[in-house]
Protein backbone atom coordinates (compact mmCIF):
# COMPACT_ATOMS: atom_id res chain seq x y z
CA UNK A 1 0.00 0.00 0.00
CA UNK A 2 1.24 3.42 -0.86
CA UNK A 3 1.25 6.41 1.46
CA UNK A 4 -1.65 7.85 -0.47
CA UNK A 5 -3.80 4.93 0.56
CA UNK A 6 -2.60 4.57 4.13
CA UNK A 7 -3.51 8.10 5.22
CA UNK A 8 -7.23 7.95 4.34
CA UNK A 9 -7.38 4.49 5.86
CA UNK A 10 -5.95 5.77 9.14
CA UNK A 11 -8.36 8.69 9.14
CA UNK A 12 -11.16 6.21 8.57
CA UNK A 13 -10.07 4.02 11.49
CA UNK A 14 -9.82 7.05 13.78
CA UNK A 15 -13.30 8.23 12.73
CA UNK A 16 -14.83 4.83 13.42
CA UNK A 17 -13.21 4.71 16.87
CA UNK A 18 -14.40 8.23 17.67
CA UNK A 19 -17.89 7.37 16.44
CA UNK A 20 -17.89 4.23 18.57
CA UNK A 21 -17.18 6.33 21.67
CA UNK A 22 -20.17 8.62 21.15
CA UNK A 23 -22.57 6.65 23.42
CA UNK A 24 -20.13 7.16 26.32
CA UNK A 25 -20.28 10.93 26.11
CA UNK A 26 -23.74 11.55 24.68
CA UNK A 27 -26.95 10.23 26.13
CA UNK A 28 -30.69 10.62 25.81
CA UNK A 29 -31.54 13.22 23.22
CA UNK A 30 -28.12 13.60 21.62
CA UNK A 31 -27.58 9.88 21.39
CA UNK A 32 -30.88 9.51 19.57
CA UNK A 33 -29.81 12.19 17.09
CA UNK A 34 -26.47 10.45 16.62
CA UNK A 35 -28.38 7.24 16.01
CA UNK A 36 -30.55 8.86 13.36
CA UNK A 37 -27.48 10.36 11.71
CA UNK A 38 -25.73 7.00 11.72
CA UNK A 39 -28.76 5.41 10.09
CA UNK A 40 -28.71 7.99 7.30
CA UNK A 41 -24.94 7.71 6.90
CA UNK A 42 -25.30 4.01 6.15
CA UNK A 43 -28.32 4.54 3.87
CA UNK A 44 -27.01 7.56 1.95
CA UNK A 45 -23.52 6.20 1.43
CA UNK A 46 -24.90 2.93 0.16
CA UNK A 47 -27.32 4.85 -2.06
CA UNK A 48 -24.50 6.94 -3.51
CA UNK A 49 -22.45 3.86 -4.34
CA UNK A 50 -25.13 2.93 -6.84
CA UNK A 51 -26.61 6.28 -7.87
CA UNK A 52 -23.41 8.32 -7.88
CA UNK A 53 -21.69 6.65 -10.81
CA UNK A 54 -24.80 5.43 -12.67
CA UNK A 55 -26.97 8.59 -12.28
CA UNK A 56 -30.00 6.40 -11.68
CA UNK A 57 -32.00 8.05 -8.90
CA UNK A 58 -33.32 5.33 -6.66
CA UNK A 59 -36.28 6.08 -4.43
CA UNK A 60 -36.47 2.52 -3.22
CA UNK A 61 -34.62 2.99 0.09
CA UNK A 62 -37.90 3.37 1.96
CA UNK A 63 -39.22 0.13 0.49
CA UNK A 64 -36.15 -1.93 1.41
CA UNK A 65 -35.92 -0.30 4.81
CA UNK A 66 -39.55 -1.24 5.34
CA UNK A 67 -38.94 -4.82 4.25
CA UNK A 68 -36.22 -5.04 6.88
CA UNK A 69 -38.27 -3.57 9.70
CA UNK A 70 -41.45 -5.37 8.81
CA UNK A 71 -39.94 -8.83 8.40
CA UNK A 72 -38.09 -8.56 11.70
CA UNK A 73 -41.31 -7.52 13.42
CA UNK A 74 -43.41 -10.26 11.80
CA UNK A 75 -40.86 -12.98 12.49
CA UNK A 76 -40.33 -12.03 16.11
CA UNK A 77 -43.92 -11.25 16.93
CA UNK A 78 -45.83 -13.94 15.05
CA UNK A 79 -43.36 -16.77 14.66
CA UNK A 80 -41.09 -16.41 17.68
CA UNK A 81 -37.93 -16.27 15.64
CA UNK A 82 -34.76 -14.65 16.88
CA UNK A 83 -33.87 -11.11 15.90
CA UNK A 84 -30.64 -12.19 14.22
CA UNK A 85 -32.25 -14.82 12.05
CA UNK A 86 -34.93 -12.41 10.89
CA UNK A 87 -32.35 -9.73 10.19
CA UNK A 88 -30.47 -12.13 7.91
CA UNK A 89 -33.68 -13.25 6.19
CA UNK A 90 -34.88 -9.69 5.63
CA UNK A 91 -31.56 -8.65 4.11
CA UNK A 92 -31.72 -11.65 1.80
CA UNK A 93 -35.32 -10.93 0.78
CA UNK A 94 -34.56 -7.28 0.05
CA UNK A 95 -31.50 -8.22 -1.99
CA UNK A 96 -33.52 -10.63 -4.12
CA UNK A 97 -36.30 -8.05 -4.46
CA UNK A 98 -33.79 -5.43 -5.56
CA UNK A 99 -32.37 -7.92 -8.07
CA UNK A 100 -35.80 -8.53 -9.60
CA UNK A 101 -36.65 -4.82 -9.75
CA UNK A 102 -33.25 -4.11 -11.23
CA UNK A 103 -33.65 -6.76 -13.91
CA UNK A 104 -37.04 -5.38 -14.88
CA UNK A 105 -36.15 -1.69 -14.94
CA UNK A 106 -32.41 -1.10 -15.20
CA UNK A 107 -32.23 -2.23 -18.81
CA UNK A 108 -34.31 0.81 -19.69
CA UNK A 109 -33.67 4.53 -19.38
CA UNK A 110 -33.37 6.17 -16.00
CA UNK A 111 -36.84 7.67 -16.06
CA UNK A 112 -38.56 4.29 -15.92
CA UNK A 113 -36.46 3.33 -12.94
CA UNK A 114 -37.22 6.51 -10.99
CA UNK A 115 -40.92 6.15 -11.61
CA UNK A 116 -40.92 2.53 -10.62
CA UNK A 117 -39.10 3.15 -7.36
CA UNK A 118 -41.16 6.30 -6.63
CA UNK A 119 -44.29 4.39 -5.66
CA UNK A 120 -42.59 1.20 -4.58
CA UNK A 121 -42.72 1.76 -0.81
CA UNK A 122 -46.36 2.82 -1.03
CA UNK A 123 -47.22 -0.17 -3.22
CA UNK A 124 -45.56 -2.68 -0.89
CA UNK A 125 -47.26 -1.02 2.08
CA UNK A 126 -50.67 -1.45 0.40
CA UNK A 127 -49.89 -5.07 -0.40
CA UNK A 128 -48.65 -5.84 3.11
CA UNK A 129 -51.65 -4.14 4.74
CA UNK A 130 -53.99 -6.10 2.50
CA UNK A 131 -52.33 -9.43 3.30
CA UNK A 132 -52.32 -8.58 6.97
CA UNK A 133 -55.96 -7.51 7.08
CA UNK A 134 -57.28 -10.46 5.12
CA UNK A 135 -55.13 -13.41 6.03
CA UNK A 136 -53.16 -12.71 9.17
CA UNK A 137 -55.56 -10.64 11.19
CA UNK A 138 -54.76 -6.99 11.74
CA UNK A 139 -52.85 -6.56 14.89
CA UNK A 140 -49.75 -4.61 15.71
CA UNK A 141 -46.38 -6.26 15.78
CA UNK A 142 -44.12 -5.98 18.78
CA UNK A 143 -40.35 -6.07 18.60
CA UNK A 144 -39.22 -6.72 22.14
CA UNK A 145 -35.49 -7.01 22.68
CA UNK A 146 -33.15 -5.96 25.43
CA UNK A 147 -31.18 -3.68 23.11
CA UNK A 148 -30.53 -0.17 24.37
CA UNK A 149 -30.14 2.83 22.08
CA UNK A 150 -26.37 2.45 22.40
CA UNK A 151 -26.56 -1.14 21.13
CA UNK A 152 -28.59 -0.09 18.13
CA UNK A 153 -26.18 2.74 17.50
CA UNK A 154 -23.20 0.40 17.49
CA UNK A 155 -24.91 -2.03 15.16
CA UNK A 156 -25.64 0.82 12.74
CA UNK A 157 -22.04 1.95 13.03
CA UNK A 158 -20.99 -1.55 12.05
CA UNK A 159 -23.27 -1.46 9.02
CA UNK A 160 -22.02 1.99 8.04
CA UNK A 161 -18.43 0.81 8.35
CA UNK A 162 -19.27 -2.21 6.22
CA UNK A 163 -20.75 0.11 3.58
CA UNK A 164 -17.56 2.15 3.52
CA UNK A 165 -15.37 -0.94 3.24
CA UNK A 166 -17.63 -2.25 0.49
CA UNK A 167 -17.40 1.08 -1.34
CA UNK A 168 -13.64 1.11 -0.99
CA UNK A 169 -13.35 -2.41 -2.35
CA UNK A 170 -15.70 -1.61 -5.25
CA UNK A 171 -13.61 1.39 -6.11
CA UNK A 172 -10.53 -0.80 -6.49
CA UNK A 173 -12.25 -3.62 -8.35
CA UNK A 174 -13.11 -4.30 -11.97
CA UNK A 175 -16.73 -3.68 -11.07
CA UNK A 176 -15.94 -0.17 -9.88
CA UNK A 177 -13.99 0.55 -13.05
CA UNK A 178 -16.88 -0.70 -15.15
CA UNK A 179 -19.26 1.53 -13.17
CA UNK A 180 -17.18 4.61 -13.82
CA UNK A 181 -17.22 3.93 -17.54
CA UNK A 182 -20.98 3.40 -17.50
CA UNK A 183 -21.40 6.68 -15.67
CA UNK A 184 -19.36 8.53 -18.26
CA UNK A 185 -20.91 6.98 -21.32
CA UNK A 186 -23.06 3.91 -21.33
CA UNK A 187 -22.73 3.31 -25.05
CA UNK A 188 -18.95 3.27 -24.79
CA UNK A 189 -19.22 0.90 -21.83
CA UNK A 190 -21.33 -1.49 -23.86
CA UNK A 191 -18.92 -1.34 -26.75
CA UNK A 192 -15.90 -2.27 -24.70
CA UNK A 193 -17.74 -5.36 -23.57
CA UNK A 194 -19.13 -4.40 -20.17
CA UNK A 195 -22.36 -6.07 -19.21
CA UNK A 196 -23.94 -2.77 -18.19
CA UNK A 197 -27.26 -4.20 -17.01
CA UNK A 198 -25.65 -6.70 -14.64
CA UNK A 199 -23.21 -4.19 -13.24
CA UNK A 200 -26.08 -1.88 -12.36
CA UNK A 201 -28.23 -4.66 -10.99
CA UNK A 202 -25.48 -5.91 -8.68
CA UNK A 203 -24.89 -2.44 -7.26
CA UNK A 204 -28.61 -1.89 -6.85
CA UNK A 205 -28.86 -5.18 -4.98
CA UNK A 206 -26.24 -3.95 -2.55
CA UNK A 207 -28.36 -0.90 -1.73
CA UNK A 208 -31.31 -3.22 -1.08
CA UNK A 209 -29.19 -5.37 1.19
CA UNK A 210 -27.87 -2.50 3.30
CA UNK A 211 -31.19 -0.65 3.51
CA UNK A 212 -32.94 -3.78 4.76
CA UNK A 213 -30.21 -4.34 7.35
CA UNK A 214 -30.64 -0.80 8.61
CA UNK A 215 -34.42 -1.22 8.69
CA UNK A 216 -34.06 -4.46 10.64
CA UNK A 217 -31.70 -2.91 13.16
CA UNK A 218 -33.92 0.14 13.68
CA UNK A 219 -37.01 -2.03 14.33
CA UNK A 220 -36.24 -2.62 18.06
CA UNK A 221 -36.05 1.14 18.50
CA UNK A 222 -39.74 1.52 17.70
CA UNK A 223 -40.79 -1.68 19.54
CA UNK A 224 -44.29 -1.37 18.00
CA UNK A 225 -44.37 -1.77 14.22
CA UNK A 226 -47.08 -1.33 11.66
CA UNK A 227 -46.78 -1.06 7.88
CA UNK A 228 -47.56 2.67 7.87
CA UNK A 229 -44.61 3.34 10.11
CA UNK A 230 -41.84 1.45 8.34
CA UNK A 231 -42.80 1.88 4.68
CA UNK A 232 -42.30 5.62 4.62
CA UNK A 233 -41.78 7.30 1.22
CA UNK A 234 -40.29 10.29 3.03
CA UNK A 235 -37.26 8.26 4.06
CA UNK A 236 -36.35 7.59 0.43
CA UNK A 237 -36.34 11.31 -0.32
CA UNK A 238 -34.30 12.18 2.75
CA UNK A 239 -31.68 9.64 1.75
CA UNK A 240 -31.46 11.15 -1.74
CA UNK A 241 -31.23 14.73 -0.47
CA UNK A 242 -28.55 13.99 2.10
CA UNK A 243 -26.42 12.08 -0.38
CA UNK A 244 -26.71 14.75 -3.07
CA UNK A 245 -26.12 17.54 -0.57
CA UNK A 246 -22.83 15.97 0.42
CA UNK A 247 -21.82 14.93 -3.07
CA UNK A 248 -21.93 11.51 -4.63
CA UNK A 249 -18.66 11.40 -6.52
CA UNK A 250 -16.60 10.70 -3.38
CA UNK A 251 -17.10 7.84 -0.98
CA UNK A 252 -17.15 10.18 2.02
CA UNK A 253 -19.37 12.76 0.28
CA UNK A 254 -22.75 11.69 1.71
CA UNK A 255 -21.24 11.78 5.22
CA UNK A 256 -20.68 15.52 4.79
CA UNK A 257 -24.32 15.98 3.80
CA UNK A 258 -25.93 13.75 6.41
CA UNK A 259 -24.61 15.37 9.55
CA UNK A 260 -25.73 18.98 8.96
CA UNK A 261 -28.98 17.91 7.32
CA UNK A 262 -29.95 15.60 10.19
CA UNK A 263 -29.46 18.44 12.66
CA UNK A 264 -31.47 20.93 10.60
CA UNK A 265 -34.17 18.37 9.91
CA UNK A 266 -34.41 17.54 13.59
CA UNK A 267 -34.71 21.21 14.51
CA UNK A 268 -37.40 21.86 11.91
CA UNK A 269 -39.40 18.78 12.88
CA UNK A 270 -39.51 20.03 16.46
CA UNK A 271 -40.06 23.75 16.04
CA UNK A 272 -41.99 24.11 12.80
CA UNK A 273 -43.36 20.66 11.93
CA UNK A 274 -45.75 22.06 9.29
CA UNK A 275 -42.79 23.39 7.38
CA UNK A 276 -41.07 20.03 6.76
CA UNK A 277 -42.53 19.31 3.31
CA UNK A 278 -41.83 22.81 2.07
CA UNK A 279 -38.31 22.58 3.43
CA UNK A 280 -37.75 19.26 1.68
CA UNK A 281 -38.76 20.91 -1.58
CA UNK A 282 -36.53 23.92 -1.04
CA UNK A 283 -33.62 21.61 -0.23
CA UNK A 284 -34.11 19.78 -3.54
CA UNK A 285 -34.26 23.05 -5.47
CA UNK A 286 -31.20 24.43 -3.70
CA UNK A 287 -29.21 21.35 -4.59
CA UNK A 288 -30.22 21.35 -8.24
CA UNK A 289 -29.69 25.07 -8.83
CA UNK A 290 -26.84 26.02 -6.53
CA UNK A 291 -24.84 22.99 -5.43
CA UNK A 292 -25.23 20.38 -8.16
CA UNK A 293 -22.10 18.55 -7.04
CA UNK A 294 -22.79 18.78 -3.33
CA UNK A 295 -20.64 20.23 -0.58
CA UNK A 296 -17.70 18.14 -1.76
CA UNK A 297 -17.97 19.56 -5.28
CA UNK A 298 -18.23 23.08 -3.88
CA UNK A 299 -15.20 22.55 -1.70
CA UNK A 300 -13.16 21.09 -4.56
CA UNK A 301 -14.10 24.00 -6.81
CA UNK A 302 -13.05 26.55 -4.20
CA UNK A 303 -9.76 24.76 -3.67
CA UNK A 304 -9.07 24.65 -7.40
CA UNK A 305 -9.83 28.36 -7.61
CA UNK A 306 -7.53 29.31 -4.74
CA UNK A 307 -4.78 27.19 -6.31
CA UNK A 308 -5.10 28.90 -9.65
CA UNK A 309 -4.62 32.27 -7.93
CA UNK A 310 -1.40 31.28 -6.30
Amino acid sequence: MSRKEVVPLLIGVVLVVVAALVPYVANGYWLSIALTAMMYIALSTSWALFSGPTHYISLASGAFFGVGGYLVATGMSDYNQSFWLMMAISALVATVLAGLIGLATLRLSGVYFVIFTLGLAEMIRNLVSWVQNNFLGSRGLYVLTDFTEAHIYWMLLAVATAVFIFGWLIDRSRLGFALKIIGNDETVARHVGINTAWTKVILFMSTGFFAALVGAIIAPRYSYIEPNLVFSPELSFLVVIMALLGGTHRLWGPLVGVIPFTLIWEAISIWIPNFTTLFLGLAFLTIVYFIPNGFVGLFEKLRAKSRSWQ
Binding site: S109, F116, G119, M123, S129, F275, L278, G281, L282, F284
Partner: protein, 287 residues
Protein backbone atom coordinates in the same frame (compact mmCIF):
# COMPACT_ATOMS: atom_id res chain seq x y z
CA UNK B 1 -71.29 -4.20 -16.62
CA UNK B 2 -70.94 -2.04 -13.52
CA UNK B 3 -67.21 -2.44 -13.72
CA UNK B 4 -67.14 -1.67 -17.42
CA UNK B 5 -69.03 1.59 -17.11
CA UNK B 6 -67.39 2.92 -13.96
CA UNK B 7 -64.04 1.78 -15.30
CA UNK B 8 -64.51 3.66 -18.54
CA UNK B 9 -65.65 6.78 -16.69
CA UNK B 10 -62.58 6.65 -14.48
CA UNK B 11 -60.39 5.99 -17.50
CA UNK B 12 -61.80 9.09 -19.18
CA UNK B 13 -60.43 11.26 -16.40
CA UNK B 14 -57.11 9.46 -16.52
CA UNK B 15 -56.90 10.31 -20.21
CA UNK B 16 -56.94 13.97 -19.34
CA UNK B 17 -54.25 13.62 -16.66
CA UNK B 18 -52.04 11.64 -18.96
CA UNK B 19 -52.46 14.08 -21.84
CA UNK B 20 -51.11 16.89 -19.70
CA UNK B 21 -48.04 14.91 -18.75
CA UNK B 22 -47.60 13.57 -22.26
CA UNK B 23 -47.31 17.09 -23.65
CA UNK B 24 -44.80 18.03 -20.99
CA UNK B 25 -42.64 14.93 -21.32
CA UNK B 26 -43.18 14.11 -24.97
CA UNK B 27 -42.57 17.62 -26.28
CA UNK B 28 -40.76 19.71 -23.69
CA UNK B 29 -38.73 16.62 -22.63
CA UNK B 30 -39.30 17.47 -18.99
CA UNK B 31 -40.32 14.57 -16.78
CA UNK B 32 -42.56 16.70 -14.62
CA UNK B 33 -42.98 14.98 -11.29
CA UNK B 34 -44.90 17.99 -9.97
CA UNK B 35 -47.70 17.24 -12.42
CA UNK B 36 -49.92 15.73 -9.73
CA UNK B 37 -49.63 18.94 -7.72
CA UNK B 38 -51.16 20.87 -10.64
CA UNK B 39 -54.13 18.54 -10.32
CA UNK B 40 -54.29 19.22 -6.58
CA UNK B 41 -54.07 22.98 -7.16
CA UNK B 42 -56.87 22.82 -9.70
CA UNK B 43 -58.97 20.87 -7.23
CA UNK B 44 -58.20 23.35 -4.46
CA UNK B 45 -59.19 26.31 -6.64
CA UNK B 46 -62.43 24.62 -7.58
CA UNK B 47 -63.15 23.78 -3.94
CA UNK B 48 -62.48 27.33 -2.82
CA UNK B 49 -64.55 29.01 -5.46
CA UNK B 50 -67.42 26.57 -4.91
CA UNK B 51 -67.53 26.81 -1.12
CA UNK B 52 -67.02 30.56 -0.97
CA UNK B 53 -69.32 31.75 -3.75
CA UNK B 54 -71.14 28.67 -5.02
CA UNK B 55 -69.73 28.97 -8.51
CA UNK B 56 -69.99 25.76 -10.50
CA UNK B 57 -66.67 23.97 -11.03
CA UNK B 58 -67.58 23.82 -14.69
CA UNK B 59 -67.20 27.61 -14.79
CA UNK B 60 -64.12 27.60 -12.59
CA UNK B 61 -62.49 25.59 -15.37
CA UNK B 62 -62.30 28.65 -17.55
CA UNK B 63 -60.64 30.58 -14.76
CA UNK B 64 -58.21 27.85 -13.78
CA UNK B 65 -57.02 27.02 -17.28
CA UNK B 66 -55.47 30.40 -18.15
CA UNK B 67 -53.93 30.82 -14.70
CA UNK B 68 -52.37 27.37 -14.87
CA UNK B 69 -51.19 28.10 -18.41
CA UNK B 70 -49.37 31.26 -17.35
CA UNK B 71 -48.06 29.63 -14.17
CA UNK B 72 -46.61 26.66 -16.01
CA UNK B 73 -45.20 28.85 -18.72
CA UNK B 74 -43.36 30.86 -16.06
CA UNK B 75 -42.12 27.68 -14.37
CA UNK B 76 -40.70 26.50 -17.66
CA UNK B 77 -39.09 29.82 -18.60
CA UNK B 78 -37.68 30.66 -15.18
CA UNK B 79 -36.84 27.33 -13.61
CA UNK B 80 -36.49 24.75 -16.34
CA UNK B 81 -34.81 26.64 -19.17
CA UNK B 82 -31.63 27.11 -17.09
CA UNK B 83 -31.51 23.34 -16.67
CA UNK B 84 -32.04 22.75 -20.39
CA UNK B 85 -29.20 25.16 -21.16
CA UNK B 86 -26.90 23.63 -18.55
CA UNK B 87 -27.44 20.01 -19.55
CA UNK B 88 -24.73 18.48 -21.67
CA UNK B 89 -26.95 15.60 -22.78
CA UNK B 90 -30.45 14.21 -22.46
CA UNK B 91 -29.46 12.00 -19.51
CA UNK B 92 -28.26 14.92 -17.44
CA UNK B 93 -31.36 16.97 -18.23
CA UNK B 94 -33.48 14.02 -17.14
CA UNK B 95 -31.75 13.73 -13.77
CA UNK B 96 -31.80 17.50 -13.18
CA UNK B 97 -35.42 17.93 -14.18
CA UNK B 98 -36.50 14.98 -12.06
CA UNK B 99 -34.81 16.46 -9.00
CA UNK B 100 -36.01 19.99 -9.71
CA UNK B 101 -39.62 18.93 -10.25
CA UNK B 102 -39.46 16.82 -7.11
CA UNK B 103 -38.44 19.99 -5.34
CA UNK B 104 -41.32 21.92 -6.89
CA UNK B 105 -43.72 19.16 -6.00
CA UNK B 106 -42.72 19.27 -2.34
CA UNK B 107 -42.82 23.07 -2.26
CA UNK B 108 -46.32 23.05 -3.76
CA UNK B 109 -47.51 20.38 -1.31
CA UNK B 110 -46.07 22.46 1.52
CA UNK B 111 -47.89 25.55 0.28
CA UNK B 112 -51.19 23.73 -0.20
CA UNK B 113 -50.95 22.21 3.27
CA UNK B 114 -50.49 25.66 4.77
CA UNK B 115 -53.40 27.02 2.71
CA UNK B 116 -55.80 24.21 3.41
CA UNK B 117 -54.61 21.22 5.40
CA UNK B 118 -57.86 19.25 5.33
CA UNK B 119 -59.76 17.40 2.62
CA UNK B 120 -61.33 19.45 -0.17
CA UNK B 121 -64.85 18.21 0.45
CA UNK B 122 -67.79 19.63 -1.43
CA UNK B 123 -70.80 18.22 -3.12
CA UNK B 124 -71.56 19.01 -6.73
CA UNK B 125 -74.10 17.24 -8.95
CA UNK B 126 -74.05 14.26 -6.63
CA UNK B 127 -77.31 12.83 -7.87
CA UNK B 128 -77.58 9.24 -9.10
CA UNK B 129 -78.23 8.47 -12.71
CA UNK B 130 -78.92 5.18 -14.41
CA UNK B 131 -77.13 4.16 -17.60
CA UNK B 132 -77.78 0.70 -19.04
CA UNK B 133 -78.88 -0.53 -15.65
CA UNK B 134 -75.79 0.80 -13.85
CA UNK B 135 -76.14 3.59 -11.36
CA UNK B 136 -73.49 6.28 -11.71
CA UNK B 137 -73.16 9.68 -10.11
CA UNK B 138 -74.03 12.54 -12.42
CA UNK B 139 -70.80 14.38 -11.57
CA UNK B 140 -68.72 11.48 -12.87
CA UNK B 141 -70.59 11.50 -16.12
CA UNK B 142 -70.24 15.27 -16.53
CA UNK B 143 -66.53 15.06 -15.78
CA UNK B 144 -66.19 12.32 -18.35
CA UNK B 145 -68.02 14.35 -20.97
CA UNK B 146 -65.78 17.34 -20.33
CA UNK B 147 -62.71 15.13 -20.50
CA UNK B 148 -63.83 13.83 -23.89
CA UNK B 149 -64.45 17.35 -25.20
CA UNK B 150 -61.12 18.67 -23.95
CA UNK B 151 -59.31 15.65 -25.29
CA UNK B 152 -60.95 16.11 -28.67
CA UNK B 153 -60.07 19.81 -28.81
CA UNK B 154 -56.49 19.00 -27.93
CA UNK B 155 -56.34 16.32 -30.57
CA UNK B 156 -57.69 18.64 -33.24
CA UNK B 157 -55.32 21.40 -32.18
CA UNK B 158 -52.34 19.07 -32.39
CA UNK B 159 -53.28 17.58 -35.73
CA UNK B 160 -54.93 20.41 -37.60
CA UNK B 161 -53.21 23.64 -36.65
CA UNK B 162 -49.89 25.23 -37.42
CA UNK B 163 -48.87 25.48 -33.78
CA UNK B 164 -49.95 21.90 -33.22
CA UNK B 165 -47.79 20.76 -36.10
CA UNK B 166 -44.78 22.57 -34.64
CA UNK B 167 -45.45 20.87 -31.30
CA UNK B 168 -45.55 17.48 -32.97
CA UNK B 169 -42.37 18.22 -34.89
CA UNK B 170 -40.52 19.01 -31.67
CA UNK B 171 -41.92 15.84 -30.13
CA UNK B 172 -40.47 13.78 -32.96
CA UNK B 173 -37.05 15.38 -33.06
CA UNK B 174 -36.04 18.72 -31.52
CA UNK B 175 -32.85 18.99 -33.56
CA UNK B 176 -34.56 18.52 -36.91
CA UNK B 177 -37.36 20.85 -35.83
CA UNK B 178 -34.76 23.59 -35.47
CA UNK B 179 -33.64 23.03 -39.05
CA UNK B 180 -37.06 23.83 -40.46
CA UNK B 181 -37.23 27.08 -38.54
CA UNK B 182 -39.14 26.09 -35.44
CA UNK B 183 -38.23 27.92 -32.26
CA UNK B 184 -37.85 24.80 -30.11
CA UNK B 185 -37.61 26.63 -26.82
CA UNK B 186 -40.77 28.59 -27.50
CA UNK B 187 -42.72 25.56 -28.64
CA UNK B 188 -41.50 23.57 -25.64
CA UNK B 189 -42.65 26.33 -23.31
CA UNK B 190 -46.01 26.36 -25.07
CA UNK B 191 -46.39 22.58 -24.77
CA UNK B 192 -45.35 22.64 -21.13
CA UNK B 193 -47.85 25.39 -20.36
CA UNK B 194 -50.69 23.69 -22.22
CA UNK B 195 -49.84 20.44 -20.46
CA UNK B 196 -49.97 22.14 -17.07
CA UNK B 197 -53.27 23.79 -17.91
CA UNK B 198 -54.79 20.47 -18.97
CA UNK B 199 -53.63 18.89 -15.70
CA UNK B 200 -55.14 21.69 -13.63
CA UNK B 201 -58.42 21.38 -15.52
CA UNK B 202 -58.35 17.65 -14.87
CA UNK B 203 -57.93 18.51 -11.19
CA UNK B 204 -61.04 20.68 -11.25
CA UNK B 205 -63.06 17.89 -12.86
CA UNK B 206 -61.73 15.16 -10.57
CA UNK B 207 -62.49 17.20 -7.47
CA UNK B 208 -66.20 17.02 -8.28
CA UNK B 209 -66.34 13.30 -7.55
CA UNK B 210 -63.17 12.36 -5.63
CA UNK B 211 -62.24 13.98 -2.34
CA UNK B 212 -58.67 15.19 -2.59
CA UNK B 213 -56.17 16.56 -0.13
CA UNK B 214 -52.73 18.12 -0.36
CA UNK B 215 -50.82 14.86 -0.34
CA UNK B 216 -52.50 12.86 -3.12
CA UNK B 217 -50.69 14.59 -5.98
CA UNK B 218 -47.96 12.00 -6.14
CA UNK B 219 -50.49 9.19 -6.66
CA UNK B 220 -51.85 11.01 -9.71
CA UNK B 221 -48.34 11.65 -10.97
CA UNK B 222 -47.62 7.94 -10.64
CA UNK B 223 -50.74 6.94 -12.56
CA UNK B 224 -50.17 9.52 -15.26
CA UNK B 225 -46.61 8.27 -15.72
CA UNK B 226 -47.73 4.67 -15.95
CA UNK B 227 -50.30 5.63 -18.58
CA UNK B 228 -47.86 7.70 -20.60
CA UNK B 229 -45.30 4.92 -20.60
CA UNK B 230 -47.85 2.27 -21.38
CA UNK B 231 -49.27 4.32 -24.25
CA UNK B 232 -45.86 5.33 -25.53
CA UNK B 233 -44.25 8.71 -24.86
CA UNK B 234 -45.76 11.42 -27.05
CA UNK B 235 -48.46 9.13 -28.40
CA UNK B 236 -51.93 10.59 -27.68
CA UNK B 237 -53.78 7.62 -29.14
CA UNK B 238 -51.76 5.20 -27.02
CA UNK B 239 -52.37 7.29 -23.93
CA UNK B 240 -56.14 7.14 -24.43
CA UNK B 241 -56.15 3.37 -24.74
CA UNK B 242 -53.74 2.99 -21.82
CA UNK B 243 -55.83 5.30 -19.61
CA UNK B 244 -58.97 3.31 -20.32
CA UNK B 245 -57.16 0.05 -19.57
CA UNK B 246 -55.88 1.41 -16.27
CA UNK B 247 -59.33 2.72 -15.35
CA UNK B 248 -60.93 -0.63 -16.10
CA UNK B 249 -58.33 -2.73 -14.32
CA UNK B 250 -58.38 -0.51 -11.24
CA UNK B 251 -62.16 -0.57 -11.03
CA UNK B 252 -62.20 -4.33 -11.52
CA UNK B 253 -59.62 -4.90 -8.79
CA UNK B 254 -61.35 -2.47 -6.44
CA UNK B 255 -64.77 -4.10 -6.82
CA UNK B 256 -63.74 -7.73 -7.10
CA UNK B 257 -60.82 -7.93 -4.65
CA UNK B 258 -60.10 -4.92 -2.46
CA UNK B 259 -60.06 -1.13 -3.00
CA UNK B 260 -56.73 -1.01 -1.17
CA UNK B 261 -55.08 -2.84 -4.03
CA UNK B 262 -55.59 -0.32 -6.84
CA UNK B 263 -52.01 0.91 -6.69
CA UNK B 264 -50.77 -2.67 -6.65
CA UNK B 265 -52.75 -3.43 -9.80
CA UNK B 266 -51.39 -0.29 -11.47
CA UNK B 267 -47.91 -1.52 -10.61
CA UNK B 268 -48.61 -4.94 -12.03
CA UNK B 269 -49.63 -3.36 -15.34
CA UNK B 270 -46.57 -1.16 -15.24
CA UNK B 271 -44.32 -4.15 -14.66
CA UNK B 272 -45.86 -6.06 -17.55
CA UNK B 273 -45.39 -3.06 -19.84
CA UNK B 274 -41.76 -2.67 -18.79
CA UNK B 275 -41.06 -6.33 -19.35
CA UNK B 276 -42.82 -6.83 -22.65
CA UNK B 277 -43.56 -3.51 -24.30
CA UNK B 278 -41.28 -0.80 -22.86
CA UNK B 279 -41.72 1.34 -25.98
CA UNK B 280 -45.49 1.58 -25.40
CA UNK B 281 -48.54 -0.20 -26.74
CA UNK B 282 -48.29 1.15 -30.28
CA UNK B 283 -44.62 2.03 -30.16
CA UNK B 284 -42.01 0.61 -32.44
CA UNK B 285 -38.81 -0.84 -31.02
CA UNK B 286 -36.13 1.80 -30.81
CA UNK B 287 -32.97 1.38 -32.80
Amino acid sequence: MDILISGLLLGGTYVLIAMGLNLQYGVARIMNLANGEMIVLGALASFWVFTSSMVSPLLTLFLVAPIAFVGNWLIYRLLLVPLVRRAKNQGQLEVDSILATFGMSFVLVGIVVSLHGEYFTYSFLASPLSILGTTVALNRLVAFAFAVVIGLVLYLWLNHSRAGMAVRAVAVNPDSAKLVGINVLKVSALAFAVGGAVSAVAGVLISTFITLDASVGVIFTMKALIIVIMGGVGDIRGAIVAALILGLVETAVATLIDPGLTLVSAYLIFLLVLLFKPQGLFGRAQT
